[in-house]
Every structure is written in structure tokens, then in C-alpha cells.
């Protein structure tokens, strides 16, 4: 997934769309918006980011999970199988991005890239709604996909690259 910080206005349509799409409990959020301002008046810079699970190449949450509920699905998304999850929160402690929370039904919940939609050829809920089209989702192994093209043509960053987890949420600058 790519997230274009130049386009994002921080409106939180992604946050609310995700909540409705995934029928999340009141205090559960799978994505959130960070708005950072740097500088001193009047020389200021702002960056808006829609953040969520980074679906890391080397996910520490999966390594920490004692029951195998957290796993890497084929295709690369990091998922939690609800019935296998004991709610022990080891994954929450392991995740450096604070991407997980305890669902009101006891299991640990997080972004799924809306695979239930992707299976049907639909975009994830946040990508689908985004008024600025700042969010894009696609196949990194396909050089013709929108995300591949964006990553070839634009500067980008990932969050906490020093941890070496190889996140798959790319912030276009």
C-alpha cells in the first residue's frame, strides 16, 4: 500500500470508512491519521499520514504469537485468526507501530488490508473511500501496478526503517 502525504488532507474518511466496513467496536481503530507540523512560525511544514499495520516482511507480532493466530497469509498480509487467538497481547507488545488493539470480543484485531474485499476484486475500505486518492493498494510484484509505478517514480519512506522489519506501507513524499 502507498500513502501519498502530499495529497492527504487528514480528513479521517479512511478511519471512519474502516470502522463501518469492518464493523469495529467503538474503541477499536485499525487505522488512524497522524498530522505532524515542523518548524517555527511562519516557516512551517506539515505532513499528514494515514497509518495502519505495516504488514511487515518480518513481522515481530507473528514471531511473538504463541498460538499461531497471527500469521502471514499467502499474498503477504499479516492477519489474526480470531478463533486461534487467546488475547494474550504478546503481539501488541511486539508491534513497534501500535497497530493492534484488543477487540471487545476478546481477540486481538488489526488491519487486514480488507482481504474480504480484495478477494472480490474490490479495494480496501480506506482506499475505496479516500477523497484525495492518497491511498493506493496493489501488487508490488507486478511492475505495471499503480503502487509499483508510484514507488519507481516517487521518493518515499517507511516508518522506523532502522528496525529492519521491511514494512509494506510506503509513504510517498
Amino acid at each position: 500500500m502507498t500513502m501519498d502525504t502530499r495529497l492527504c488532507v487528514g480528513c479521517q474518511a479512511c478511519v471512519l470508512s474502516c470502522k463501518a466496513e469492518n464493523d469495529l467496536p467503538e474503541q477499536g481503530f485499525r487505522d488512524w491519521v497522524v498530522s505532524e507540523t515542523r518548524g517555527v512560525f511562519p516557516t512551517l511544514y506539515q505532513e499528514n499520514r494515514s497509518e495502519r499495520c505495516n504488514h511487515c516482511e518480518h513481522p515481530p507480532c507473528v514471531a511473538a504469537c504463541p498460538t499461531g493466530a497471527s500469521h502471514v497469509a499467502e499474498g503477504g498480509a499479516v492477519l489474526v485468526t480470531h478463533y486461534k487467538c487467546s488475547g494474550c497481547k504478546a503481539c501488541i507488545a511486539a508491534c513497534p507501530y501500535n497497530a493492534r488493539y484488543v477487540h471487545s470480543e476478546g481477540y486481538i484485531d488489526k488491519c487486514t488490508f480488507c482481504l474480504h474485499r480484495v478477494e472480490k476484486g474490490q479495494k480496501p475500505g480506506c482506499v475505496d473511500i479516500c477523497p484525495t486518492s492518497a491511498l493506493q493498494f496493489g501488487d508490488l510484484s507486478d511492475p505495471d501496478s499503480t503502487v509499483s509505478k508510484l514507488l519507481r517514480s516517487r521518493k518515499y519512506k517507511v516508518l522506523k526503517p532502522e528496525l529492519g522489519l521491511e514494512p509494506h506501507l510506503f509513504f510517498l513524499l
Binding site: L7, L16, S133
Partner: protein
């Protein structure tokens, strides 16, 4: 950084679905071991309709499952939403399922000296309203009834009140919002901009925002277009005392001193004209008054503007050149709420004049000239009664206002202030205590009324002042009139009921028709329901009712909207040209060209109160919406970080999250509000999002959250040209909230 090219999740328009179903990639999703959980929010029924969380009217696809609306998505077929929604649009369910909704009709009764609301049947409530309306008509004449309305469902009540015989129908969205803009552009180009505004953000190369905070103001299509423009490399110039979201994307942010925009705009004209950066051919061909304008701005140098605006001369020059370099695809955004300082029509004129100098009216990337699809009106009986002149203004004042002034109708409710008195109010969908300036005046006017009826979805403050409260169902539970849009892609859209009305709420068309029946006006409502009404219009227009019901929208052929596309420019002004110099203004005793007059400064220790919007809320209408409030539960007051270090009486720096109280020049105190200490605002003003600080007991969620700017707007300056109420003229000091205030 290296991108790991391992196989990642594939997505593509339908292609994935096709391969998945073909059975070739059954193991792709690992369906056999860890099933992908489906939250099950996809509707078994999907109903196209259009949104009413704000007034942009985006196309919505409402998903319904087991009789409940599970989610709202953008309708890809609708030109305003293009499959996308803003956060508010996704939150319609929060309105539909708001537990605080008005559920049954209420009538005010005296019980042992105390006034209480009593739940009554619709029969009883409607009988009471009709009886009071007939009494008003018999005693004072029908003109003594005023209708205040905001929102698309108001059309039924406007029709009812016209049939009843009153011309006094107003929306606060004019004199309290976009009125000066319409008049300013109309004076210059012979037409206003309407809604959605006829502007080409998508193709502009330079978007100039004068205090407009697009991106926080989430007009869906405009935000989409702004993002498309930015993605293409278009530039932004933002003039705003606050570092808005848009300023964060701009090449230039000019943190102007509030109230001095006209000085900056005149200096920009000075640079553009003296350096011959205007469109000479366009100006010669289409405008009148150029020589007068040239003389008018000859001494309005950037050096002259600097002490007024605080923007350095070099920066004024540089930005003027920058903006002009992209002409004609340089768009001065007209703004939306433009009622700021009382000289608003003149400020808008200055913006329009720059647009004219840049040749951007009627040009790609500038202002567009769209049209509407033709759709016959419903063949109603002509209104029989010829009412007296409307009473929103004295006969000689504000002849240029092209809509009724809501504030003027409120004034005319105070006995003896106008040619005749307003004695009864019907209030549809607008919380006048937050939408009109100075709520003290509004309350005083209400006390003088014989009768007030409020039609609303939620128990807003205004409903607490009503004699009868009629609970309307939400936009997701009703069919309204058709929306025929003047837009570059013209269309007709329908609002369809998604679910049955909850509780004992009723759609507006039903309420209006039932009142009409009791008032002897049945002839004006000759249809069974609003669906029959809407489909009769569609059939009369020769369109396909089934297509409209199925897709929610009938799209017309795009027509040429620019000179480049073949439109011959013409101007419905007196001179038939773009009027840089306005003779109509001169004749009415106003400045024929914009003149800068320095605004009153806040006294020492006080700050100018500015207010605006959150992307998640539509003023006070949505602050009780629990779903939307998950993303933005209360407002904050923005205070400049340097100022916050040393506020008088604080005994230490003010920090983000500290609770404060704002006290205005008239001693009015706000509810406690949290401070946001930030570099993102000038030190001579503070800012808050409008629509919080509710006091109505019925709003169990919103009540007591944040503070209301409206309460602090006890002063306003009336625009002498069109009667708009400039509301950015209040000053506040900041006090620490004490235990007694919280």
C-alpha cells in the same frame, strides 16, 4: 530503499475476482487453513441516494442488511462523489441511529406554572400548528409567518409557505455565509457561482485560497479536484492567518493579518497591472473600467500594503508574479462562508477583479460556465395570494441582495422595527441559535413571537424554544425533491428512502402536505407521496424513471464550459462587460472599486476570534453524531505558541490540553474549551471549529463538549451592499478555566 518484490496482494478492476472464481488460484488466499474473516457489512440491498450530512449532495450507495444500514459508500455514477465520500458522508448511520433523535411530536404546555413538552399524536400536533397558522393569517396576514430553512428537504416547506401567502422565506446560508460572494461575482461578471461552485480546480495550475480552508472544509468534489491538481503539479498560494491543511501543501503561505485581505489584493493588482502581467487582450475585449482601476491601484504598492497586512513587499511582488505566470489557469477560489468583516462584497469584488485581469473567467482552469439539464417543474396551481413585500430589510437597503436575509427576518420580529412585524416562525433544519449571529438577539426575537414551530431530526437548541416540535425522519428514510445540478457534468439525482422511518418520525413532504390539508391548501399538494411527485417530473422531462431509481442519477451530456471549448463569453452586467469599475455600486453610494479600510484592532490582551470547520463535522448539525465524533469529539482553541508562553494572569505558560474560558468584548464567557498551543496561527487571533458547545439537554452526547463560537459572536458588522453579517469582528481574552467554570 530496496522494495522487496515478493508476491504481494493483487488487486485490479475485476481481474482478481475473475481468476479467483476460475479456480486457478484457490490456494492464493489460504482459504483452507486460516479463513479470511468477512465482517459481513456488504448490503443484501444497495440503495443509491444522496447525502445530507452537508449541503454538497454527494451520491451515496447505502448498504442495507437485515433492515439496518451497515455502511455508506460513494456512488461511482454520481459526478459529485465519483465513488468517494468525505468522512461526514460515511457517518450518515451515526445520524440515523442517533439515540437522541426526536421521536414523537412535542407540544409546549404549562403545567403548574412550569413549561414542559408533552408528547402528542401527529394529529394533535398538526392540528395545533395549523390552528396557530390560521390565527396568524387572520390576525396579521400571512406575511407575518417567516420560514427559516436549511437543507434540501426544506423545499416542501418553502412551497407550503408560499401557498400560505408569505414571501418571508430565508436560509442562513445566504446572509450568514455565501451571500457576499454571490453578489461580488454577480456585480463583476453578471452571475454568481452557485453550489457546487462553477470553478475548475481540477485543471487549474495555480489555486489561490483567500482564507478558504479547503481540505478542512470537505466539499468532496473540490477536495478530490484539489488533490488531482496537486498530483499533477499544480501550485497553491494560501492567504490565511492560520497555517491551514491547504497551507501545508502550498508553495506560498501568506499569514496575513486578519481583516486586511483587500490591501493585499489591491497590491497584487498593482503589481499585475504596473508590470503588465495581466491578459491585455482579454481585458480589452471583455472588461470595462480598466483605466479607472489602473489609476485606483497606482499607489497601492506592496510597500503600502506591508504595514497593513504584515506581508513583506518582496513576498507580495513574488506571489503576484507567481499567480499571474499561470494565467488564465490561475484560480482565485471564491470561498464559501465569506461573511467576515462587513466589507465582504468588496473583498470578493477584489478577488473577482484579479480573476478578470488574469483572464480566468470562462477559461479552462479558472471559472466555468456550466448548465443544467432541463426538467419541468411540477405543474402546481399558481400561488393565488399576492403577498406584501418581504420584510427582511428596509425598502431602500441592500437592493443587491438576491436572496432573503435570515438575520433581517429575525430583526423584523422585534415589534416596530420594520414596516410590519413577523409574529410566527417555522424553522426547518437550522439551529438558529448557532447559525444567526448574537444568540441573545435571536432569543429576544423568539420571546416576541405568537408562535414558533420547529421541524428537525435532533433536539437542537432551537427546538427547546419552540411551541411545537415536529420530528422529521433523516435523509436515509425519505424521498425529497430531485436535485438538478448546474455542473460541468450536468445531472439529475434522486434521494430515495433506504429504510423505513424510525420511531414516530415522518418525512418533510408528508408533514408539509398534512399541514396544507389543514390550511385548506390541498390543491398545492396534489400527489400521493414524494416518489409520485418526483417520478411525474422525471416522466415530464422525458427521462427514464427506472434508470434513476437503479443508479440514483441520470447524467446529461457534458456541455462546453469554457471559451476554449467554444463558449462565447457574455456578461449579464449593465455594460455587458466584466465590470472592473462598478457603476451600479457607484449609483447606490458604494465604492465602485474596492477600497481598503483598516479594521479595528483587538485591544491589548485580546485576540480576534476566528472560526472554521472540521473535516468531520457540518457545523453543529453533526457534533452529536457518535460515529463521527469517534474521529473528532470536541473543538479546541488554537493559540499561538509564543503568545501562550506569557498570557496575562496565567502565572505560567499555557499548554495544549489546558482548559480555558474565552471572554469576549461584551463580557460573554464561553464554556470551558481545551487549548491547542501551536505554531500554526498568528499571535493576534485565536481559532476554533464552529458548531460545538451545545447546551441542549436532549443532545446527550454533544452537550458540554467544547465551546460555542456562536455565543461569543455578540457583535457583527453588516455588509452595506447586501446585508451579510460579518462575524469575525469579535475579540476575546483567554482565562484559565477554574473549578467553578467547569
Amino acid at each position: 530503499m530496496e522494495v522487496n518484490r515478493r508476491q504481494f496482494i493483487k488487486i485490479g478492476a475485476g481481474a482478481v475476482g475473475a481468476t479467483a472464481f476460475s479456480g486457478l488460484t484457490t490456494r492464493w488466499w489460504g482459504l483452507d487453513k486460516d479463513p479470511v474473516h468477512d465482517p459481513g457489512t456488504e448490503g443484501t440491498k444497495v440503495v443509491p441516494t444522496f447525502c445530507e450530512l452537508c449541503f454538497w449532495k454527494c451520491g451515496v450507495l447505502a448498504h442495507v442488511k437485515d433492515g439496518r444500514v451497515t455502511k455508506l459508500k460513494g456512488n461511482p455514477a454520481h459526478p459529485l462523489s465519483r465513488g468517494k465520500l468525505c468522512p461526514r458522508g460515511t457517518g450518515g448511520t451515526g445520524l440515523l441511529y442517533d439515540p437522541d433523535r426526536l421521536k414523537r411530536p412535542l407540544v409546549r404546555r404549562d403545567r403548574r406554572g412550569e413549561q414542559v413538552f408533552e408528547e402528542v399524536s401527529w394529529e394533535a400536533a398538526l392540528d395545533e400548528v395549523a390552528e396557530k397558522m390560521l390565527k396568524v393569517r387572520d390576525t396579521y396576514g400571512p406575511e407575518a409567518l417567516a420560514l427559516f430553512t436549511h437543507g434540501f428537504g426544506g423545499s416542501w416547506f418553502s412551497h407550503l409557505v408560499k401557498a400560505y401567502g408569505s414571501p418571508n422565506i430565508a436560509a442562513p446560508s445566504y446572509a450568514q455565509c455565501r451571500g457576499p460572494r454571490e453578489v461580488g461575482y454577480w456585480l463583476t461578471f453578471g452571475q454568481g457561482l452557485g453550489s457546487p461552485e462553477a470553478i475548475d480546480i481540477e485543471h487549474t495550475r495555480c489555486l489561490v485560497l483567500i482564507g478558504s480552508h479547503l481540505g478542512e472544509n470537505m466539499h468532496n468534489t473540490q477536495v478530490q479536484d484539489m488533490a488531482r491538481a496537486v498530483a499533477r503539479g499544480a501550485e497553491l498560494v494560501v492567504v490565511d492567518p492560520r497555517f491551514s491543511t491547504a497551507a501545508g501543501k502550498a508553495r506560498y503561505w501568506l499569514p496575513i493579518k486578519p481583516g486586511t485581505d483587500i490591501a493585499l489584493l489591491l497590491a497584487w493588482m498593482h503589481v499585475i497591472i504596473t508590470e503588465k502581467r495581466y491578459d491585455v487582450e482579454y481585458v480589452e475585449k471583455y472588461t470595462t473600467g480598466f483605466e479607472e482601476l489602473k489609476a485606483h491601484v497606482a499607489d497601492k504598492t506592496p510597500e503600502w500594503a506591508y504595514p497593513h497586512t504584515g506581508i513583506k513587499p518582496d513576498l507580495i511582488r513574488e506571489t503576484a508574479r507567481f499567480i499571474a505566470s499561470f494565467r488564465p489557469a490561475s484560480l482565485i477560489h471564491p470561498g464559501r462562508r465569506t461573511t467576515w468583516y462587513g466589507d465582504d462584497t468588496q473583498r470578493i469584488r477584489a478577488m473577482a477583479i484579479i480573476g478578470a485581469l488574469l483572464g480566468s473567467w470562462g477559461r479552462r482552469g479558472g471559472y466555468l460556465l456550466p448548465s443544467k439539464m432541463s426538467l419541468p417543474k411540477f405543474p402546481y396551481t399558481a400561488y393565488a395570494y399576492k403577498p406584501k413585500e418581504k420584510v427582511d430589510r428596509p425598502p431602500s437597503l441592500y437592493p443587491l441582495a438576491d436572496e432573503t436575509l435570515a438575520s433581517g427576518l429575525c430583526d423584523a420580529t422585534i415589534p416596530g422595527k420594520s414596516s410590519y412585524d413577523i409574529k410566527a416562525w417555522m424553522v426547518y433544519g437550522t439551529n438558529l441559535l448557532q447559525s444567526l449571529p448574537d444568540p441573545r438577539q435571536t432569543k429576544e426575537a423568539i420571546q416576541k413571537l405568537d408562535f414558533i414551530v420547529s421541524i428537525d431530526v435532533l433536539p437542537m437548541e432551537i427546538t427547546g424554544w419552540a411551541d411545537v416540535v415536529l420530528p422529521e425522519c433523516t435523509y436515509l428514510e425519505r424521498c425529497d425533491d430531485l436535485h438538478v445540478a448546474r455542473y460541468k457534468e450536468p445531472y439529475i439525482a434522486v434521494r430515495q428512502p433506504v429504510v423505513e422511518p424510525m420511531y414516530d418520525s415522518k418525512p418533510g413532504w408528508w408533514i408539509a402536505r398534512e399541514l396544507a390539508r389543514r390550511l385548506g391548501l390541498s390543491d398545492y399538494f396534489p400527489w400521493k407521496d414524494s416518489v409520485e411527485y418526483a417520478m411525474a417530473r422525471i416522466k415530464a422531462g422525458g427521462y427514464d424513471c427506472d434508470e434513476l431509481k437503479r443508479t440514483g442519477v441520470i447524467r446529461g451530456k457534458p456541455t462546453p464550459v469554457t471559451e476554449e471549448e467554444g463558449v462565447a463569453l457574455s456578461f449579464a452586467t449593465e455594460s455587458g462587460k466584466i465590470e472592473l469599475y462598478s457603476k451600479p455600486l457607484e449609483m447606490l453610494g458604494h465604492d465602485p472599486m474596492p477600497v481598503f479600510r483598516a479594521p479595528e484592532e483587538p485591544p491589548p490582551g485580546m485576540f480576534r476570534l476566528l472560526f472554521g470547520r472540521s473535516p468531520v463535522h457540518s457545523f453543529g448539525r453533526s457534533t452529536n453524531n457518535r460515529f463521527l465524533s469517534l474521529a473528532d469529539p470536541e473543538n479546541e482553541v488554537w493559540v499561538n505558541a509564543d503568545v501562550a508562553k506569557d498570557l496575562p494572569g496565567f502565572g505560567g505558560p499555557l499548554k495544549t490540553g489546558d482548559e480555558v474560558v474565552l471572554v469576549n468584548q461584551d463580557g460573554v464567557r464561553s464554556r470551558p474549551i481545551k487549548a491547542k498551543v501551536t505554531q500554526r496561527i498568528r499571535g493576534d487571533c485565536v481559532y476554533m471549529v464552529h458548531g460545538f458547545g451545545h447546551t441542549s439537554k436532549g443532545l446527550t452526547f454533544a452537550r458540554g463538549r467544547g465551546a460555542s463560537d456562536s455565543e461569543l459572536v455578540t457583535r457583527y458588522k453588516v455588509d452595506p451592499i447586501m446585508g451579510g453579517t460579518g462575524m469575525n469582528v469579535n475579540f476575546v481574552r483567554i482565562e484559565r478555566a477554574t473549578a467553578s467554570t467547569t
